[in-house]
Symmetry: C2
Subunit: 214 residues, 2 copies
DNA sequence: TAGATTGTTAATCGATTAACAATC
DNA sequence: TAGATTGTTAATCGATTAACAATC
């Protein structure tokens, strides 16, 4: 093929795709057939050039004067992000934050399916937001049996490493880490930290400087 | 003065400061007097050059052969981020996510103080994690009376804009937005979005590609 | 003094922005 | 056809990385 696709693309670009998807789905719901980069850019306060370049990364070709065919571009983005075939996940730590995440509808919309949750405390309800909660001792066995790909880590800081170890022992390929701990994992396991402290730092800094954030 | 300080620094750098602070505080607790860039870099798996450059941004000068004086550099970072004088905040939406955040110890560690929470439902407890919960109708008046600087937005998506309006009417200077909605505010108000969908996108993409994340 | 570490200047890299030809 | 929009190539910008002199 002639159109050589760039093999490595940056996180910045990937982060914009959910925004595009939301706008494009809205347009499709309204019955539109095409979406031009300009319209999408306006809806998201982005530069049209960025939108055009990002969308072209999916391999879908837009039609001059019309824009990108909506069905095609939506499917391409979903496929690109791996949201077409749900990624199976478990959540470890069904405390306040964990429970909040179990109820987050974004997982289903965005190609994830939480099969089970775990908690050390037997006092917790055995079902949160329709998802069964098991004792933490069963993490490794359950992850292995269900061939779970992703572990969501919402345990207290002092348990973060040991619970991560249990998830890794079960064979997860990635961990979404909501704890402030930098956990150690084998090199093939992907770690995504959700770093509230970093966000607070950016916020503090902007408030102090009186800057306008994006 | 000769050493002209760079006026505008990037978010990337600001995000690293909480990491430095954690490591530096640990070292100070252990009784160390100096911290070299190399040691800090090793603890965080960062390039020593990055650490040196970031720390020098605070204006503190390190001593060759010894490193940076711990007390001085810790104070400088706290001051730099505005964590020395607590920023007063309120939280709107005391559901699962909101309650989880009310119990998050990071706020106090990082220079924020949540004075009150708000919720539409009168069924909620009137005290969560020691913080009083008031009816949402009192947002504007309370924010104005207490001169609150930051609003934390954890309401359902369909209430995001109207609650944000109430916070702005009370005079907040920034909003930490945990909803998936892109809210509209006057240009002088700082918005910091906490975008779980973007994080999920990065995660999906890495899992699908089998890449190793950082 | 010798040597490790800082601080600064230059080079590299990646992403964003600009310009413009191709196309329906 | 005329004109709007795509797609691509070049220029700019900012951050990271490298190199090295200054310093205790």
């Amino acid at each position: 093929m002639s159109g050589a696709q760039k093999s490595e693309i940056g996180d910045r670009m990937v982060k914009r795709f959910p925004l595009y998807l939301r706008v494009l789905r809205e347009m499709a719901d309204r019955g539109d057939i095409y979406a031009s980069g300009a319209v999408v850019a306006k809806a998201l306060s982005l530069d049209p050039i960025v939108v055009r370049k990002d969308l072209s990364q999916t391999g879908v070709r837009g039609k001059p004067r019309l824009g990108f065919p909506l069905n095609e571009i939506i499917n391409a983005i979903e496929n690109y992000l791996g949201w077409d075939a749900p990624t199976e996940a478990v959540l470890a730590g069904a405390g306040r934050l964990g429970s909040a995440l179990l109820g987050y509808p974004g997982f289903r919309d965005q190609g994830f399916k939480i099969l089970a949750a775990f908690d050390v405390s037997p006092k917790r309800r055995s079902l949160i937001a329709g998802i069964p909660v098991y004792p933490a001792s069963q993490i490794t066995e359950t992850v292995r049996r269900l061939k779970v790909v992703l572990g969501i880590l919402t345990v207290p800081a002092d348990q973060a490493q040991s619970v991560a170890d249990a998830l890794v022992a079960g064979g997860v390929r990635g961990i979404w880490n909501f704890t402030p701990v930098q956990i150690a994992v084998p090199p093939e396991v992907i770690i995504k930290r959700e770093d509230l402290a970093a966000s607070l730092a950016v916020l503090s800094h902007r408030l102090r400087r009186g800057d306008k954030g994006r």
